[in-house]
């Protein structure tokens, strides 16, 4: 059985429909990437899974249990943690406090703790007493990832971790992915950087205008197919 | 305007509705009846009507401030009190006739509103609300020190002033009533004029470009700024206009009462809490709301006034329930069920392609 699924998932912002029946499957130990142009609905998908947006119960399942209507805090307690788009660190909290708050709703022993996060991103240890928002963009992203890992999640959702970062910094951050997988988390990674997505993912979903337009393993997808799924077939 | 939807005209922008036209005719009839009322009504009915009309005017101005201007003041009693005291002051100290002195009450209220706004506009949101209250307290405490008008215990209008009041002699002879009743009738007529002018004036203001800008400021300050609406100037305008109207009303109320004290004239319960409940119960942000609200308020008061504190508790509970479950008030409930708008201020586009396509979908 898949670890996490969405089935015929829809989402609305007021009258505006942002998702039209999205089906996603994440298996234990797997990393999948969601790609798509701006406004395709990737963030909306993440918000629907994490409970920020709520739906019909069976639109999202975790180990077969319907969680589509559960609140964000309940879903987090089940072991689904999110690195939100734009990092969203808490400005009133120091770096270390930002990490610690990641365990508020779920205190599960596991690989990840303050020490192992500091091992993963040593720079954070140096800056531990700074306000979270006094860090560079890349460092803030590390805090956001560390904060989500602190609860030792079973599923880690990452929304555009590379957004606005320099290539070297992106590399630094992505070197953490194998370690995260190794520690036992399955991942859904939203990426606009297709190359990066292809490198880390076992499977890729491409979205356009609120629908999944293409899925497959990275090597099975041709450049043209991706191009069409991304921008629509050149009619 | 009624032929605006005619098919020969591609489209037209208008703000009237058929309900509003019927309401217009009904309003004219109502005004005539109101003016003629003293000819056949009892003195106590006239007093009740005076109370209803003056509370309605206060509610309309508070609604202009809070409902349209987003300025939630709980210090409007400052302007009621200062308007009333200014009137008493010039009558007692300068021997002016109280009726023209009412106008002065409005002017003095504006003079007070300028420094008040200067301080209170430094505070945001909820703190603005309490800030206005503090200023009202300051004015009350200062007024208590003003010995010429009775200090903390207050005073009455001089006998000659009330006896020789403008026009009362005519009223006495025409209606064959005593001086005190004639003063009630005069105050009542003034209240009718004030209420009609207030509702008409606010309706007019909201339909002007400035009024539309006001709604824009309330809904989204940033967006309003970006299209060139000067939010600060709008706030000042609304605040000063409301102060003027509230000051006039205060002076008029105390002309009828003929006796004043700082605690009564600056009472937060009488001049702000009641007014606020009237607006909330009726429906904030509409002209109809305060009208419905004042009627409900008066009925509740007539029913429950003997129970004193219970009456206020019931009023508070109703206010809370409305705010929690029907934040648009009774008028909001009525108008969302029926679609009726008596004072339409939004502009609607009818006719033309847009209209037809909307009807098809």
């Amino acid at each position: 059985m898949a670890l996490l699924t969405t089935q015929n998932l829809t989402a609305h912002y007021g009258d505006f429909q942002a998702l039209f029946g999205v089906d996603i499957e994440l298996n234990e130990g797997e990393t999948i990437a969601i790609i798509g142009a701006n406004g395709a609905g990737k963030t909306t998908l993440m918000r629907s899974i994490s409970g920020v947006l709520t739906n019909q119960p069976d639109m999202v399942t975790l180990e077969g249990v319907p969680i589509g209507n559960a609140s964000a805090d309940a879903i987090m307690a089940q072991g689904v943690a999110m690195v939100p788009e734009g990092r969203k660190l808490f400005p009133s909290l120091s770096v270390e406090e930002n990490l610690l708050i990641g365990t508020y709703g779920r205190k599960t022993a596991g690989h990840w703790s303050l020490e192992t996060i500091y091992d993963l991103f040593p720079i954070l240890k140096e800056r531990r007493n700074n306000p979270g928002t006094a860090l560079s963009g890349g460092q803030q992203q590390m805090v956001a990832i560390g904060r989500a890992l602190m609860s030792n999640p079973r599923v880690l959702l990452c929304d555009e971790v590379s957004l606005g970062l320099a290539p070297v910094v992106i590399k630094d951050i992505y070197q953490a992915v194998p370690k995260i997988k190794h520690a036992g988390a399955s991942m859904i990674v939203v990426e606009q950087d297709i190359g990066q997505a292809m490198k880390v993912a076992d499977r890729v979903y491409c979205m356009m205008e609120g629908r999944v337009t293409l899925t497959g393993t990275p090597d099975s997808l041709s450049r043209d197919a991706i191009h069409d799924a991304y921008f629509g077939a050149a009619a | 305007m009624s032929h605006a939807t005619d098919h020969a005209v591609p489209y037209a922008v208008h703000t009237g509705t058929s309900a509003s036209r019927i309401a217009g005719i009904a309003a004219l009839i109502l005004i005539v009846v109101l003016v003629a009322l003293p000819a056949f009504a009892s003195r106590s009915l006239i007093q009740d009507m005076f109370f209803i009309l003056t509370m309605l005017v206060l509610a309309q101005f508070w609604n202009l401030l809070a409902g349209y201007g987003g300025l939630v003041s709980i210090g409007q009693q400052a302007f009621v009190g200062i308007g009333a005291y200014a009137m008493f002051g010039v009558v007692i100290l300068a021997g002016l006739d109280p009726v023209p002195a009412i106008l002065l009450g409005g002017v003095v209220a504006v003079l007070l509103a300028i420094p008040t706004a200067f301080f209170a506009f430094r505070l945001q949101g909820a703190y603005f609300a309490i800030g206005t209250w503090v200023i009202a307290e300051v004015v009350r405490l200062l007024t208590s020190q003003w010995k010429a008008v009775g200090g903390g215990t207050g005073t009455s209008l001089p006998r000659d002033a009330t006896r020789d009041l403008w026009m009362t002699e005519t009223i006495e002879t025409v209606f064959g009533v005593r001086n005190a009743a004639a003063r009630d009738i005069l105050s009542y007529w003034l209240a009718v004029i004030l209420a009609v002018a207030t509702i008409g004036g606010i309706y007019w203001l909201l339909r002007t470009k400035r009024g539309l800008a006001l709604a824009a400021v309330r809904d989204n300050i940033e967006a309003a700024k970006s299209v060139g609406v000067d939010a600060v100037r709008m706030k000042w305008t609304v605040f000063l206009v409301a102060a003027f109207g509230t000051g006039l009303t205060g002076a008029l109320i105390y002309l009828q009462k003929a006796r004043i004290s700082p605690d009564a004239a600056f009472s937060v319960t009488d001049w702000t809490a009641f007014v606020l409940f009237i607006v909330v119960i009726g429906g904030i942000g509409t002209i109809e709301g305060p009208i419905i609200g004042v009627i409900v308020f008066f009925l509740l008061q007539s029913l429950l006034a003997d129970y004193g504190t219970w009456y206020l508790m019931v009023l508070g509970v109703i206010g809370i329930i409305i705010m929690l479950f029907a934040p648009k008030g009774l008028w909001g409930l009525i108008s969302s069920r029926t679609g009726i708008e008596l004072f339409p201020v939004r502009r609607r586009l009818t006719g033309g392609a847009l209209h037809t396509s909307q009807q098809e979908t």
């Binding site: 943690a81 | 301080f119 020190q145 904030i284 929690l324």
Partner: protein, 287 residues
């Protein structure tokens, strides 16, 4: 010398005002909510203590300790069932709802306890005093001030040293992201209001022991509390203490010049601060 005495009395009075204000400051800092019934809740706390004292003959301090969990529960429930519904960008609903609550509480107390003024029994405490250098200071005012400092120290500890405090700050920064950390913002807000009402109970204890109270004095306590918060700068607890002290000193100095100027002088102090430092003495950097 008389002036030193006046100012010391003012500082100690400021402790009482800081107690009035600390709960208001806490709640505003966390959820940007101003509870217009805050003053009436203080008066209600005083009546609750009075009821316990008169039924059991216990000392007011013990009665207050019994009242605390009840007041906490009241605050928690109030926030959960009523105030959480009106939080949001529009400031009107919370203002109107809490204003309504204020009117209801005031009149309920008038109905239940009449307009007669009451006082908590203090025994010898109300007259006890100590020599501080050349001036005589009442033990009760000293105790009030000490309690205010203690309350602020404890609140700061909770805020900056505990997980709950972290959750308070995180939720106040961004409630949606906080919920992704497993925080339930509705419960966090309810906790905050519950704690605020514990502080309200402490304020009520000293209010009732130091002076007469009746159901109508709530709004004036709200105003003093509000003035202390504004002068101190929104969201700063030590600022709130300083704000309370400034109001207290202004009032005692005003009263020393002319007894009728006591309250007025406090208001004028606020207006002066607004004039020179519109954001208060210790404004928060992020707001």
């Amino acid at each position: 010398m008389i002036w030193v005495d006046t100012i010391v009395q003012g500082i100690l009075l400021g402790g009482l005002y800081a107690l009035f204000a600390a709960g208001l400051s806490l709640v505003f800092g966390i959820m940007r909510l101003v509870n217009l019934a805050h003053g009436d809740l203080i008066v209600m706390g005083a009546y609750l203590i009075l009821v316990f004292v008169s039924f059991t003959g216990l000392s007011p301090f013990i009665a207050a300790a019994i009242a605390m969990p009840l007041m906490f529960a009241l605050g928690y429930g109030l926030q959960k069932v009523m105030l959480n519904r009106v939080l949001g960008d529009d400031i009107l609903p919370p203002l109107l709802v809490t204003f309504g609550l204020s009117v209801v509480l005031q009149n309920a107390m008038l109905e239940g306890f009449s307009a007669d003024s009451q006082r908590l029994p203090t025994g010898a405490l109300s007259t006890a005093s100590v020599e501080l250098g050349s001036i005589n200071v009442g033990v009760l005012p000293l105790l009030t001030f000490g309690s205010a400092v203690l309350v602020i120290v404890v609140l700061n500890q909770i805020f900056y040293r505990t997980e709950l405090g972290r959750a308070f700050r995180a939720t106040s920064d961004d409630a949606t992201t906080a919920s992704l950390m497993g925080i339930k913002p509705a419960n966090i807000f309810a906790m905050a209001t519950g704690i605020a009402l514990i502080i309200v109970t402490i304020a009520a204890l000293y209010l009732g022991m130091r002076a007469n109270f009746d159901p109508n004095i709530g709004p004036a306590r709200l105003i003093y509390a509000f003035e202390a918060v504004i002068i101190g700068g929104l969201g700063s607890l030590w600022g709130t203490l300083l704000g309370g002290i400034i109001i207290g000193v202004a009032q005692t100095v005003g009263a020393a010049i002319n007894p009728e100027w006591q309250i007025l002088a406090g208001h004028v102090a606020l207006l002066i601060v607004l004039l020179i430092r519109p954001r208060g003495l210790f404004p928060r950097a992020v707001d």
